[in-house]
Symmetry: C2
Subunit: 405 residues, 2 copies
C-alpha cells in the first residue's frame, strides 16, 4: 500500500479502489513464488533434479488449479495472462475448425459489444479472416437479451463468447440461461456451439467451479484475483478443441509454447485457490458495503447515474457511475490527490480518455459514456472509505458545477 505524508507529517492511508484493474499480490502467493525466484530456477523440461523440481512445481500448480475449478489437470493450460487465454480460446477454437475442414466464411460467432478488448479485438481478427461476427443485444444493465441471442444462432454458429462479469459495469451474466439457449439451438440445428466465458473478473466474487459456469472455455487472469501479473489460465471442457496460435516447444500440451513461468504459475495457483475458497463470504461482506455506499452516494451526489445492474446481477465490488457533463478523467486525478485510486473505465481500454464503449452500448447516451467513474473495492474496503470518497466527490462537483452549463 502506498502511503504518503499528509500536511501534518503523518502517513495518510491510500484507499485503493481499482481492483478490477489490478489487485495486491496475496502474501501466501508471493511466499510460494520466492523459491522459484531463487535456488529453484530449473527448466521444467530438463531431465535433471533442478528440472524435476520445476516440473513438480508446475504440475502441482496445475493440480491445485484443477481442484479449485473441479476439472482434471489436463484441461488446465497456463498462459501469459487473461488476454492470451481469451485469444487462444477464440482464435484457437475457430482455427481448429478450419483445420478440420470448415471454411472461415461458413462460420458464425456471437458476442456482445460490451466485451473486454482481449475478446472484442480477437473477434475483429476473426472477422478479417471471413468469419461472420454477430453481436447480441444487451439490456440497459448489460444483461444479454436471450430472445435476441436465440434469433442470432444458426447451424453455422460455432462459438458464443460472453464475459462472466463485465470489467467496467460489473454485470454478472446469467450463464445458465445463456447455455440453455445454446443447448436448445444445438438440438434444433444439430451443431456444436462452443461457449467461451471470459471470467477474468470472477474468481474473488462468484463461484467459478467449471461445471457451474457451463463453459467450454473459461479464461482467467491471476493478476485480477491477487495473483502475479503475467499469468493466466485457460480451462477447457472435454469437448472443447483448440489449435495453437503461437508455436514452439511442446509446453502446455503444445498449446502455449515457451519455458513455463514457474514462479508465476505457482503464485497464480495459490491466488486462484484462495480467491475461490472464500468467494462467498467476501461477496456477502462487500456487496453489503457496495449497496450502502451506492445509497449514500446517490443521496449525496444525486446527479450521479448508476451504470449497470442493482443487487445480485452486479458483482459485489463494483460501483460505476456517470456524471454527465463533468470531466471524470480529471475527477479521477483529483480523487487520486485525495488518496483514492479509482478509474474511469477498464485499464485495457487504453489510456488517454475517450468514452466508455460499454456504457455507450447500454445507455446509447454519449455524454453518459464520456463521464464514467469506476470504483472497484477490494476485500478490505469499508463503507467509511467509500463515504470519504463521496465527500471528496461532492466537494469537487460543487466546485466544478460553476463551470458546467
Amino acid at each position: 500500500m502506498i502511503r504518503e505524508l499528509n500536511m501534518f507529517g503523518r502517513r495518510k492511508k491510500r484507499v485503493y479502489l481499482d481492483w478490477a484493474a489490478a489487485t495486491p499480490l496475496l502474501p501466501e502467493a508471493k511466499a510460494a513464488m520466492l523459491p522459484f525466484l531463487s535456488g529453484d530456477f530449473g527448466n521444467p523440461s530438463a531431465i535433471h533434479k533442478e528440472g524435476s523440481v520445476a516440473r513438480q512445481a508446475v504440475e502441482g500448480a496445475r493440480d491445485k488449479v484443477a481442484r479449485t475449478f473441479k476439472v482434471r489437470p489436463e484441461f488446465i493450460t497456463f498462459t501469459s495472462g487473461g488476454t492470451e487465454a481469451n485469444n487462444i480460446a477464440i482464435l484457437g477454437s475457430i482455427k481448429k475448425l478450419v483445420e478440420s475442414g470448415s471454411e472461415y466464411c461458413d462460420l458464425e460467432v456471437v458476442t456482445t459489444k460490451i466485451e473486454h478488448p482481449s475478446v472484442s479485438r480477437a473477434f475483429d481478427e476473426l472477422e478479417s479472416l471471413g468469419v461472420k461476427v454477430k453481436y447480441v443485444a444487451v439490456d440497459e444493465t448489460g444483461l444479454i437479451n436471450l430472445t435476441a441471442l436465440r434469433e442470432l444462432l444458426s447451424a453455422k454458429t460455432a462459438l458464443v463468447s460472453v464475459s462472466y462479469i463485465n470489467s467496467e459495469i460489473g454485470t454478472i451474466q446469467k450463464l445458465h440461461a445463456i447455455k440453455k439457449v445454446l443447448k436448445e439451438a444445438e438440438e434444433v440445428y444439430g451443431n456444436s456451439i462452443l461457449f467461451h466465458v471470459d471470467a477474468a473478473q470472477a474468481p474473488l466474487w462468484v463461484n467459478c467451479q467449471f461445471d457451474t459456469t457451463q463453459a467450454d472455455y473459461l479464461a482467467l487472469d491471476a493478476a485480477k484475483c491477487c495473483g502475479p501479473k503475467g499469468v493466466g489460465v485457460l480451462v477447457q471442457s472435454r469437448r472443447a478443441a483448440v489449435s495453437p496460435v503461437t508455436f514452439g516447444g511442446g509446453q502446455e500440451a503444445g498449446l502455449r509454447p515457451g519455458t513455463e513461468n514457474v514462479a508465476g504459475v505457482v503464485g497464480a495457483a495459490v491466488a486462484l485457490e484462495a480467491a475461490q475458497a472464500d468467494w462467498k463470504s467476501r461477496q456477502e461482506t462487500i456487496s453489503l458495503v457496495r449497496d450502502q455506499a451506492i445509497k449514500y452516494l446517490l443521496a449525496e451526489v444525486p446527479e450521479a447515474l448508476i451504470n449497470g445492474a442493482f443487487g445480485a446481477d452486479r458483482v459485489a465490488n463494483n460501483i460505476n457511475i456517470s456524471l454527465p457533463l463533468y470531466d471524470t478523467e480529471f475527477m479521477a486525478v483529483v480523487l487520486d490527490k485525495h488518496g483514492f485510486a479509482v478509474s474511469t473505465k477498464s485499464a485495457c481500454s487504453g489510456a488517454g480518455g475517450g468514452e466508455s464503449a460499454v456504457v455507450k452500448e447500454i445507455s446509447a447516451d454519449p455524454s453518459r459514456a464520456a463521464s464514467t467513474l469506476r470504483i472497484t473495492s477490494g476485500s478490505d474496503t469499508t463503507l467509511k472509505d467509500l463515504q470519504r470518497l463521496t465527500a471528496v466527490l461532492r466537494k469537487h462537483l460543487d466546485k466544478m458545477s460553476a463551470y458546467i452549463k
Copy 2:
C-alpha cells in the same frame, strides 16, 4: 543451488551445467522485482498514483533495455518470453506484408534446419498459410553456407531468420557476413529482406548491441540470461514492421496486449543490462575453461565426438558431444545422481528423448544425433567441475561399454 547430503552427511555441491536451458535469477534482478510483488501492484495503464508507479517501472525498464542494446525505447517490445518474441517477429512481419497487399503464396522466407522450435514451428505455420519456406544449408559445424544462402534469395524473399547462437551446439553465426549477402540481394532484386535473429542464447556471452547484430528483429529471453522466466524482448529496427498476432488492450504499442508483467520486465531489464555489461570478461574466462575442458574430455573420453565449431565460432559456455551407441539420456540421469545437471539437447525440443534434429542436420549421422550430451556452463563453472564430470563420465562409459556391441 540445490545441495544434498552425501554419504558422510556433508552437503554435496551440485554442479549446474544446463545454462542454455535455464539460468539462476540474478540477485539484483530479484531485488528490483520485489517491490512489484508487494506494495507496488498497480496496473500501468491506470491513471492514479499506483498506476503511475507501475508505468514508470515499465518505461524505466524499457529505457534500460534500450540503452543496453543501443536503440530508442520505442523499438523495444516486452513479451512473455523468447518464444513469443520469435513468433511475433516471424508471424507478425509476414502478416504485416499480407495486410499491406502481398499474398502469402508470393512470399518466400529463408531459415535453417537447426533452429529452435519457436522459430522452426513458426515457419511451419507460415508454410501452412502458403508461404514458401526455404532452408539454407549449414556446414558440419552449423555455420550457414553463404553461397547457398545467396542462391536461395530472390525478389520474393521477405524474411531471413537465423539464431545468433545455436541453443544445442553453440555455433555463433556470422551475422555480418549473412547481412552482407542479404544487402547484395536487396540491391539486385530491389526488395526489402527483413533479418530476424533469435538471440535467446546470446546476451551473457556475445555483444548484442543492436547495430552490431545487423538485425531487423532481435528476439531475447530474460530467463536465459539470469532474468525471470516469462519475459522476453523483441528489438526492432526502424524499417521493421509487424502486425500483432494476439489482440487486446493497447499495451506495448498494440503489439503485445495484456496487462504488463511489471515485476517481470523490471527484473528482465536488470538481467539483460548486467549480462551485456560483462559479456566480454565472462566470455574470455569461460571460453578458456571450455577449451581446456574439451581438451581434457577428448583425452579421457576419446570415443566422444564434438558437435559444433571449435574456438571463436562456438559460444564460450557450450560443450556438445556425441557418444554413438551409448544412451545419453540415461547418462544424463547418472550424471544427475552424481551431482551434475546436464541435458541431451534443448529443453524446448521436448522431453522423452529422441534424436537431436540439430546434430542430425550437421552430421547426417543418426547414431551421432541420437547420442548427444549438452554441457552448458555458467559464469561460475570451473575447469575442476568439468574434469570431475569427465571422470564420472569415463567411469560410466567403462561400465556400460560391456553392453555396447
